[in-house]
């Protein structure tokens, strides 16, 4: 029996965007293959759209909730439908999520002025430092690393889902939202897991470019990176809010 039988059964990536079934069409012409340049440029396009959306959300915070719902639906469509359509859905996802993040940031800024730019700076700071660590080989993602991140991400998702459902009945899992030591520790853990998901995204993009996957996978890789970055930003914002409220 395989040493990694659990991995083989349940999949390995912490990012749900990597658990879809795709076919590579075989040897492709060089111009139709995924490249690192293409993936980075497409991430830049998505980030620009996200910032444009955030500008709208900042000025019209009422759009935050509908945009969050539409963005989430678009994310699921991109993950579970044909990934070759990521070039169409990912820009809309980035735009709508940007509007949602703009609205959320306005809410946070009203309570704690200056918190938005801190969260943005830390998010991109983590992105750049982890990219350096990955490219230089300081952090080496392995199968066990992927299993660990996958398990932790699924655990966090389950906890949030249970907390969300319990909130309808006037209850909830208190400690994950508290500003006590346990609450801050939990937020730190979640930020750590979200950040380590970036390493998996980098590895996927690097491997995809190395193997010469179809060009549309550049959009898919950029989309995966955006999903993780948006999650990381929200978690950093939550952590900073907890710290500032003490």
């Amino acid at each position: 029996m395989s040493k990694h039988s659990a991995l083989n059964t349940f999949g390995r990536s912490g990012n749900p965007a990597f658990t879809r079934n795709f076919d590579n069409t075989g040897a492709l012409p060089k111009t139709e293959r995924m490249t690192l340049d293409g993936a980075v440029n497409k991430t830049a396009i998505l980030l620009s759209l996200c910032f444009a959306g955030a500008f709208i959300g900042w000025n019209i915070p009422a759009l935050a909730m509908p945009s969050l719902i539409i963005g989430t639906i678009l994310a699921f469509v991109t993950i579970f439908r044909n990934p070759s359509k990521a070039g169409t859905t990912a820009p809309f996802y980035a735009g709508f999520e940007g509007v949602a993040l703009g609205g959320i940031t306005v809410f946070a800024e009203a309570q704690y002025p200056g918190i938005g730019i801190q969260a943005i700076g830390l998010t991109f700071g983590i992105l750049a430092s982890l990219l350096f660590c990955y490219k230089s080989g300081i952090i080496k993602p392995t199968e066990n690393f992927r299993l660990m991140i996958f398990s932790a991400t699924m655990g966090i998702a389950l906890l949030y889902l249970v907390s969300f459902i319990m909130s309808f009945f006037g209850s909830g899992i208190g400690f994950i939202h508290s500003n006590g030591l346990f609450g801050i520790g939990f937020s730190l853990f979640v930020v750590g897991i979200a950040a380590l998901n970036l390493v998996l995204d980098f590895d996927f993009i690097e491997e995809g470019a190395d193997q010469g996957l179809p060009k549309y996978m550049e959009w898919y890789g950029a989309f995966s990176l955006m999903v993780t970055l948006i999650w990381l930003y929200i978690e950093i914002l939550r952590l900073l809010m907890k710290l500032r409220s003490r």
Partner: protein
């Protein structure tokens, strides 16, 4: 002051991402035996681009041999 520091951090980090992201990872990262095998998962076949070639001499199959 706080805003200026974090703004510079964000811009510098984006600059690093845009430049470093386009560079291939080091050999220390790429040439490892314990790399994640993205194509080995049961549900994904991102990386399955191998063709099956059966080597050997081709022989004509005669169906009427037994008749």
């Amino acid at each position: 002051m706080n805003a200026i520091f974090f703004s510079i951090l964000a811009i510098f980090s984006l600059f690093v991402f845009m430049n470093l992201g386009k560079i291939k990872a080091s050999k220390k990262q790429m040439d490892r035996d314990d790399r994640i095998k993205w194509g080995n998962r049961r549900r994904t076949s991102f990386f399955k681009n191998k063709t099956t070639i059966v080597e050997g001499k081709a022989e004509e199959v005669k169906d009427d041999k037994d008749k």
